[in-house]
């Protein structure tokens, strides 16, 4: 097992280098650049822009810019933002907790609920519950997240005033857990909604497939109770593809939910990404990309280990 993990981590190194090269190249190949925003300021002249270009090193050929960036990364220097000159690592890290909290909570709730709904729907196939769950999932999937977000704010924040319309804390209440929970309710519900919908569909079809297997019929024939058949025999087998899927969803915890974060003014990584993309903040974009890449790799590794633990047929060998 340890050998397997080490080997996978070693494989990750060329992968990360490849990702960074492709990412850097694509970013620079895309037309436009960080200095476009200056043009809209009428007091900024072309001389000013040329001067700023030299200061940021943007006048250098792309490969030299990449080597500089990569060289700094190797010694742990993530660079500084173009606008304001703040260290990129700090700019990213200060957004991590907010996204981790919102995305993590939504994902956990959604997966528990989604798996439960899918399971029940599969067991009681074509029941009223199943139809309701299917229709509900279709409904949740057909409307864009921003619509749910705006409706939730309109109904529960502006009209009924039950919940705040955005942000993480009431001003002056930073660190108050109850206040944080109060602020978490709407964005979590909105974000979970879509994940529950997709997840319930995955788990429903997963269970349906497993329930039709011979060993389930055997278990029933042995005289086991329905509940035991489901929990002991069907669940672990149906969970295998779901665990793999979960691994793929891991980076979502960090890349964040762009739309939900924007609607609810949630100070997370999703918004940082949108802002950095608008301004073409290359150092921040590269930082976010590397961050996400690392978590895709780690997420998949964890998923593989998880699957191996659930499924005795799989052995992890170095």
């Amino acid at each position: 097992m340890l050998q397997f993990i080490l080997k996978r981590l070693l494989y990750a190194i060329p992968l990360l280098i490849g990702v960074s090269i492709i990412g850097f190249a694509l970013m620079h190949l895309a037309p436009g650049g960080p200095l476009g925003v200056y043009t809209l300021n009428p007091t900024v002249s072309v001389q000013d822009i040329e001067r700023i270009k030299v200061i940021y090193g943007l006048d250098q050929p792309t490969y030299i810019q990449y080597m500089r960036w990569a060289g700094n990364m190797l010694v742990g220097d993530w660079g500084n933002t173009f606008f304001g000159g703040r260290p990129v690592l700090i700019v990213i890290l200060e957004r991590v907790p907010a996204t981790l909290l919102l995305a993590g909570l939504s994902l956990s709730i959604a997966i528990l609920l989604g798996t439960g709904i899918g399971m029940l729907g599969a067991v009681q196939r074509y029941s009223i519950f199943d139809y309701l769950a299917t229709t509900g999932a279709m409904f949740a999937l057909s409307f864009p997240t921003f619509w749910f977000g705006l409706m939730a704010i309109f109904v529960f924040a502006v009209e009924m005033r039950w919940f705040p319309s955005g942000g993480m804390f009431e001003l002056g209440e930073e660190g108050n857990v109850l206040d944080l929970l109060h602020h978490l309710v709407l964005p979590t519900v909105v974000l979970s909604l879509v994940i529950v919908a997709t997840w319930s569909r995955y788990s429903r079809s997963g269970f349906l497939e497993v329930i039709g297997q011979d060993y389930i019929r055997t278990a029933h024939a042995k005289g086991l109770s329905n509940r035991l058949v489901i929990t002991r025999h069907a669940f672990p087998n149906a969970a295998i593809p779901l665990i793999a899927l979960l691994g793929v969803q891991m980076p979502f915890l960090f890349s964040g939910a762009l739309v939900t974060e924007t609607i609810f003014g949630w100070p997370g990584m999703g918004r940082l990404f949108v802002d950095a993309l608008t301004m073409k903040e290359y150092p921040v974009l590269m930082g976010l990309m590397m961050f996400t890449a690392v978590f895709v790799i780690v997420g998949n590794l964890l998923a593989d280990i998880g699957v191996a633990m659930v499924d005795p047929r799989i052995r992890l060998e170095g």
Binding site: G32, N41, V44, G84, G85, R161
Partner: protein, 549 residues
């Protein structure tokens, strides 16, 4: 196995469900707290923006509007521009002029006297050295300074004593006052030892002389400023100022309605203006913003080289209709690069749009005849071109569609080619690669009518590497007028000069004016001292005077 479980279990599944339900209920009850009473309201003002300021160093990059907030809260300039369009002293004792003897007769020597009782937020005294340091930092090639406009005309800046500075200009330049009004003074004692100002910690935790001190920033959420008790114009009326970031404009509007934000600094969508104006306890302000929206014609392209053609294209456009239908009549028609409410606006200009027949006739006269495919052509060139602006700006797309229709009617084919902001306003604009643009721009130096950088023939960046005459317009008469205007001090005389510039520009149409941009802002009716000011981009320019009634 199941049986033994059943018999031995005292905590049944039903119990579990009950307990979970109770816990969830308690949690929900605890989190649905009634809206808190705002006891602290009298002591603080919350302003809301849809964008987040990324840095607060007044010399570096500025996202106009968003970063002006922290700047005017924490820093001071030598003088300010008030809501009547007059300069008023801030760090200086007096605004220099020839009349008060602080500007020499030839307009080249400026004597600036500084107030004596001014302190930085860390209690250090503010002196003439800070002014000199600010100037030197602006001119330092290593500083990613946002603009040197005006400062590059300084021949020498001398510190006479702790409270007097003397500046000698290479040539007289009347808008020079604006250069200093736009530039806040930074502290020498903090920044002088900084190896690289572009990455200095000062940029996110600055020290200024302004009415508020930096207290804290919560990334992506808000910034808290605290009153500076020793402020030289008297301590601010409220204890703290909070600048909040609410990315979605409609959510921000919701927050100003619920009282979570006191002043919404981002302009409200036009279709909400009537509703906002009728809100109880909320004041709604319509304000001309510095921008005027234009169609930019690239005079370097064969289709647009002839002024007559540009004029004809302009005449075909239903300008007023575009403002009425797309901007719901909120924007006001203007015929120059200034708002009609600007002191230098030429009121003799006449709106000749739309006049399709005349436009078609003018194109015929200019030699552009309708070809077999219905599109005009001359000397092998087709009257076909693209128009670009920021992709996703639906209002501008509406204008483009209208102009496209207008031009189609006279045998002109325009193709819409919109791109992301960072693309269209990059080298595509600055190197004059476009055919036409739809763009809103403010005057060059504050709200001064000087327009040298935009239409003087020596300021074409594609040819001379300087300026922002992206349309590549060349007219010797305009050059001479602009040169004269920049050194003329008398306002009546300047009105005449710039009136003439506006007349020629409307005759030759290097850029076709569409409308003056207006914004709609919502604030709590209880806020007093707020002075909407069309001459500046920072709505918080007089924040020290704001309070609750």
């Amino acid at each position: 196995m199941g049986r033994s479980n059943k018999s031995g279990k005292t905590f049944t599944r039903r119990d579990f469900v009950k307990a979970t339900g109770a816990a969830a209920g308690a949690l929900t009850a605890a989190t649905i707290l009634p809206s808190r009473g705002n006891a602290a309201k009298a002591d603080r003002i919350i302003i809301g923006h849809s964008q987040e300021p990324v840095q607060y160093n007044p010399l570096l990059y500025v996202n106009r509007g968003t970063e002006n907030g922290p700047e005017s809260a924490m820093f001071d300039a030598l003088w300010d521009m008030n809501e009547k369009g007059q300069f008023v002293p801030n760090l200086a004792t007096e605004v220099p002029s020839i009349e008060n003897g602080r500007v020499s007769e030839d307009g080249k020597t400026w004597k600036i006297e500084l107030k004596r009782d001014v302190k930085w937020h860390d209690d250090q005294p503010f002196t003439a050295k800070d002014v000199a340091f600010t100037y030197e930092t602006i001119m330092d090639p290593k500083t990613a300074v946002r603009s040197r406009s005006g400062f590059d005309l300084i021949d020498g800046l001398k510190v006479v004593d702790d409270h007097n500075v003397e500046i000698v200009l290479k040539e007289p330049y009347t808008p020079f006052l604006w250069s200093w009004q736009e530039m806040h003074i930074v502290p020498m004692h903090i920044l002088k030892d900084e190896p690289d100002i572009n990455t200095s910690a000062f940029n996110s935790q600055p020290t200024g002389t302004g009415p508020f001190k930096f207290k804290s920033r919560t990334a992506g959420s808000h910034i808290v400023f605290e009153r500076f008790e020793d402020y030289h114009r008297g301590a601010a009326k409220v204890k703290s100022l909070i600048q909040k970031t609410v990315p979605d404009t409609m959510v921000l509007y919701g927050q100003v309605k619920t009282g979570e934000v006191d002043y919404m600094m981002t302009s409200l969508p036009y279709d909400r203006w009537d509703e906002a104006a009728a809100l109880p306890d909320r004041a709604f302000v319509e304000l001309p913003l510095p921008w005027v929206q234009f169609i930019y014609f690239n005079c370097g392209k064969p289709q647009f080289a002839d002024p007559k053609v540009r004029k004809a294209l302009y005449m075909a456009c239903e300008m007023q209709k575009s403002l009425d239908d797309i901007y719901l009549g909120r924007w006001k028609r203007t015929l120059s690069y200034l708002h009609t409410s600007h002191w230098a606006y030429n009121h003799d200009l006449k709106d000749e749009t739309p006049n399709i027949e005349l436009a078609a006739k003018m194109l015929d006269e200019a030699g552009w005849k309708v070809g077999a495919d219905g599109i005009r052509e001359k000397d092998g060139h087709k009257m076909k071109f693209t128009m670009s602006t920021t992709a996703g700006n639906t209002a501008r797309q509406g204008c483009q569609a209208l102009f496209q229709q207008n031009w189609k009617a006279i045998g002109v084919e325009m193709e819409i080619n919109n791109m992301p902001g960072s693309v269209v306003w990059g080298e595509y604009t600055t190197k004059s690669q476009f055919d036409t643009l739809l763009v809103a721009w403010a005057p060059i130096v504050g709200m001064d009518p000087d327009y040298t950088a935009r239409c003087h023939s020596q300021y074409i960046p594609a040819k001379h590497g300087q300026g922002s005459n992206y349309v590549q317009y060349e007219n010797a008469e305009v050059d001479a007028l602009l040169d004269k205007g920049a050194i003329t001090v008398d306002r009546a005389e300047r009105t005449k000069i710039y009136g003439e510039v506006q007349k020629i520009l409307l005759d030759e149409v290097p850029f076709a004016p569409q409308g003056g941009v207006f914004g709609g802002f919502v604030m709590d009716k209880g806020l007093t001292g707020v002075k909407p000011n069309q001459y500046v981009t920072d709505s918080t320019w007089n924040i020290q005077d704001w309070s609750w009634s």
